[in-house]
Symmetry: C2
Subunit: 581 residues, 2 copies
């Protein structure tokens, strides 16, 4: 009834304040409609419905600029800013991404998907405004969970000395993906409990003006609050208490599983999907380590379920001190594992590859320069991870493989993973990272490789003329290609599993010169800076020809794995064609 007339913020502003809750109800219904049928971020978006309506009622987007942190909470904003069809019509669901995107709308200013970025980006918008002598409002919307990230803390600190308009809405739903971690969350709780009046105040201590609103779903109060800070001449924090999952009782109650989800039945929250159980190899190996080594500890940065540390599992290992969620604070986790290893512990830090790129300096300077024996689990690297350009992880080899002292391992089956994990967590010489493959086929035969012999590759098939190095997830393709090549030509190709991504098996590469003339490398990450280029460089001034297959340098997005592989010549047919041309 309201939403059909709302095709942009101007239509929101044309409503009476008393009508805004009606609009909000319809926006909420639209969000629920889509996520229950399509999947997506549920809790964070439902908690921002009223605040989003109020923001667009008070401010004048796009002159005033709203920057959403992570943008997991931008669905209501999308519904209001001319993208409602992507929520109401199944055939348009995929017209928009799950994140803000300037290519979709003039009301979006950045393509973002990493946490803790909004205040810095908003400060930049504000700085440019001030240089130009304009007066628009700049609003950063940041969730409580994102506050623990270094980039956000640096920016809030700098905002504390900025002297012009900047409005930081802290959307406090008292929850990160899992529960929050860090001392500031004690303070947020005290602030909520005291209606913003308690003595300790992290924001005031960082030099910021501060307002609190308990009623984060009362549109009239939200409007009044935003009106009160509109056109303010200095930075201010507007701390708003919201309810994650607001409007779906089961999501309000169980906030962690309802952060993001697959399609579900709205009536009771039951899943519409019948998913096979996830492979538990990684989780089982971590648990076995913790149970057998009391000085072992698993660290994670705000995504504990990524390694199977659900609420139930955490209830057992947190009290033992063997599981640590540092919150969204990857830098701290990476440096901590250096300290833990230095003092005799056995730390394992795991999280998604795109978030590990936040730790490049800690990886290089704090950990690898000190050559301490910590283990890093790299999840969802390559094309089989997330496929949004906000969460792309095609450069993991480029940024891990070239850091001195690091050993970066690429298991290709379950038994190999288990042996590599055992090596990583029992040796005391180097930091070791493990690139978890997307699938862990079982060979049925225990891997007894001694991985302390660094850079030793495995020859899976011995042929001649052509050798194929199948890196990580591409080993299967290498093997299938060799099989098809043999079927077509009667000739056997050599197939190599490099196992190590941080160095070459030079003895093996040298030996190939005897009876091979071509080495093909296959990797599911970017060619530039990747594994294959090290091989090309090694053979550069020899007679050996080398062809590097991999993904081109770009922020690829919304791809299918088969599609992107085909686009880059990585199918059995095109590889065999290349080999036989």
């Amino acid at each position: 009834m309201y939403l059909e007339k709302v095709n942009g913020p101007a239509d929101v502003k044309a409503l009476e304040v008393s009508e805004l809750q009606g609009l909000a109800d319809e926006v909420r219904a639209a969000v629920i409609e889509k996520v229950s049928n399509h999947g997506g971020h549920i809790g964070p978006n439902l908690g921002m419905v009223e605040a989003t309506v109020a923001l667009h009622y008070v401010f004048e987007s796009p002159k005033d600029k709203i920057v959403y942190d992570v943008s997991h909470q931008s669905y209501p904003h999308k519904v209001i800013t001319s993208r409602k069809e992507a929520f109401l019509s199944p055939e348009h669901y995929d017209d928009v991404t799950g994140y803000t995107n300037p290519k979709e709308s003039e009301h979006d200013f950045f393509t973002v998907g990493h946490t803790s970025t909004s205040v810095s980006l908003a400060l930049g918008l504000a700085k440019a405004r001030d240089l130009a002598g304009r007066k628009e409002n700049i609003i950063a919307v940041i969730g409580d969970g994102s506050l623990s990230g270094g980039e956000a803390l640096e920016a809030i600190d700098y905002a504390g000395e900025y002297d012009k308009n900047l409005i930081i809405m802290v959307n406090d739903n008292d929850q990160s993906i899992a529960e929050n971690h860090g001392g500031i969350y004690k303070n947020l709780r005290e602030l909520r409990q005291s209606n913003g009046q308690c003595e300790k105040n992290i924001f005031k201590s960082m030099g910021l003006d501060y307002r609190y609103l308990e009623a984060g779903h009362d549109i009239e109060q939200l409007v009044a609050m935003f009106e009160s800070v509109k056109d303010i001449d200095h930075p201010v924090v507007v701390h708003v208490h919201t309810i994650k999952g607001k409007g779906l009782p089961y999501a309000e109650k169980n906030r962690e599983p309802w952060h993001w989800g697959m399609p579900f039945n709205v009536a009771d929250g039951s899943s519409k999907m019948n998913l096979p159980p996830e492979d538990s190899t990684l989780h089982d190996s971590l648990i076995e380590l913790l149970d057998n080594n009391p000085q072992a500890v698993v660290l994670n940065a705000g995504t504990p379920s990524s390694m199977g540390f659900t609420q139930e599992v955490r209830a057992k290992y947190v009290p033992r001190g063997q599981f640590v969620d540092v919150g969204i604070a990857e830098e701290n986790a990476m440096a901590m594992i250096s300290g833990i290893a230095k003092n005799g512990g056995t730390p394992v830090f795991g999280t998604y590859a795109p978030f590990l790129q936040r730790t490049y300096d800690q990886l290089s300077h704090d950990l690898c320069l000190n050559d301490n024996p910590a283990t890093i689990i790299v999840l969802w690297a390559g094309i089989y991870g997330m496929n949004s350009n906000t969460h792309i992880a095609l450069c993991d080899i480029s940024f891990f493989a070239h850091v001195p002292n690091l050993v970066y391992l690429a298991p290709t089956n379950k038994e190999e993973y288990l042996q590599m994990f055992k090596f990583a967590t029992t040796q005391r010489k180097h930091p070791v990272a493990i690139r978890m493959p997307i699938a862990l086929p079982e060979t049925g035969v225990a891997d007894t490789t001694d991985y302390s012999i660094l850079n030793k590759a495995k020859v899976l098939a011995k042929g001649s003329d052509v050798a194929i190095i199948g890196v990580s997830n591409m080993l299967g393709l290498a093997q299938e290609t060799a099989k098809a090549y043999e079927a077509k030509t009667g000739k056997k190709a050599t197939v190599i599993n490099p196992c190590y991504l941080t160095g070459l098996d030079k003895a093996l590469l040298e030996s190939l010169k005897k009876d091979h003339s071509l080495v093909i490398t296959l990797e599911d990450g970017q060619v530039e800076g990747g594994y294959g280029q090290m091989v090309a460089s090694y053979y550069g001034d020899s007679a050996m020809k080398v062809k590097n297959f991999g993904i081109s340098k770009a922020f690829h997005t919304e791809f299918t794995t088969d599609g992107i592989l085909a686009d880059h010549g990585m199918t059995v047919d095109s590889l065999v064609e290349y080999m036989t041309k």
Copy 2:
């Protein structure tokens, strides 16, 4: 009189408290003796003399573990922990580095030189201690300037929920390298002015216990303070007010120039060196930009003098809003420039290459994914920058060149730099980074190259058979080598200046196939992940041979530039030998 008997912390503990100032005076004299003759970090070390003596009197190093942030303030610690000869005997000055180093002493736990790392590393030591059920004290010593860094803020926040012993000494001398920036420094001032009693308290707001000591050079009070927190069962901040440069009146007064310095006369602080004036090309270009473009702004993260923004220059451009020092907060600066560019401004962010590696995620996700036109000035990349493994910057090409959308330029003379800088700061298409070379020879002829034609290389000499690609600082070596090669063989080699590090001039490379059989790449950074490997990959399956010269993958340290080049085959003689073998 005291120092001669002090060969380790046990000898400090054997003294009476009343004797400690005597020891401190001798430690201070030793530090002054060395830095005045040898150069080094002056202000930060002189401010920590009494606190260091007190720490070693109270705690039991190495069972108790002191972790120094940046370790610019660890000279007094080195004097006390069996390394006094490196301060008292000129022939031993170079026996120790300017940073903590576990290879030097069991009292050093990490090799560090980047800021904001100590609390994370100490948390790691503490965590391992607790898993092992031990009870030693873990002490992080962090300067006020380091507090603004994201890694430190993440760690302090996490410390706020840690539940075992951790002592964070905040060494507050009210100064970073330059003045501090960020809202927390207003709070530190209030805390100092109120003897730690004011209502706002950043540390308490982050969940930490807190103690304040105004008399940071009164050893008895320092001892009493440290005794009061020794064996504490939870994290505590001990905020100590110290005086940067304590003991040298001119250093106490002018804290910024006395942070670090070359040899000087102790009597009046005058320099012992007669240094030529620094090349002002970079600074002049920045000033010209700011004066001609009111929407241009230069950003820096805590090292303003690196681009010539001395106190005097800042006094002019800060009030105009055209110079921003965000403090030690590189992540925030990198994200801010994305926002500034997005909103129409012309931002230039410059700092030292080793510190830019802290911004990998902001570079990739916040800036390059959004493809906003900001300029990044990369200082001291390659072997001509700092040569300590704590400040190594041999991987700048590896971590910059492979990020999609970025244009990374390598000027090789003054005119080229000026034209590249003009291109970077006037185009509106891409983020552009400029790798400032160590020397800027003048050609005398204005460069009129259109750098919007991306990846177009320059052929400086056209020969045949062999082409040498001289990357960045190595272009001169490429030219000299070609000259020597011609002198020896009568044959001309082709010499190429690639100009762009983020992509290849494929048309040129393709054309070389006609009359060249070998391409040599020279770079003063790491081979793995570097520029040359892209060339090797390009030619991989052609008849062209490629040889990549560059630096091997390791944390090289304390090298001479000539020495490390020779070690890696990059001398005229060895290159000509390779070309003629």
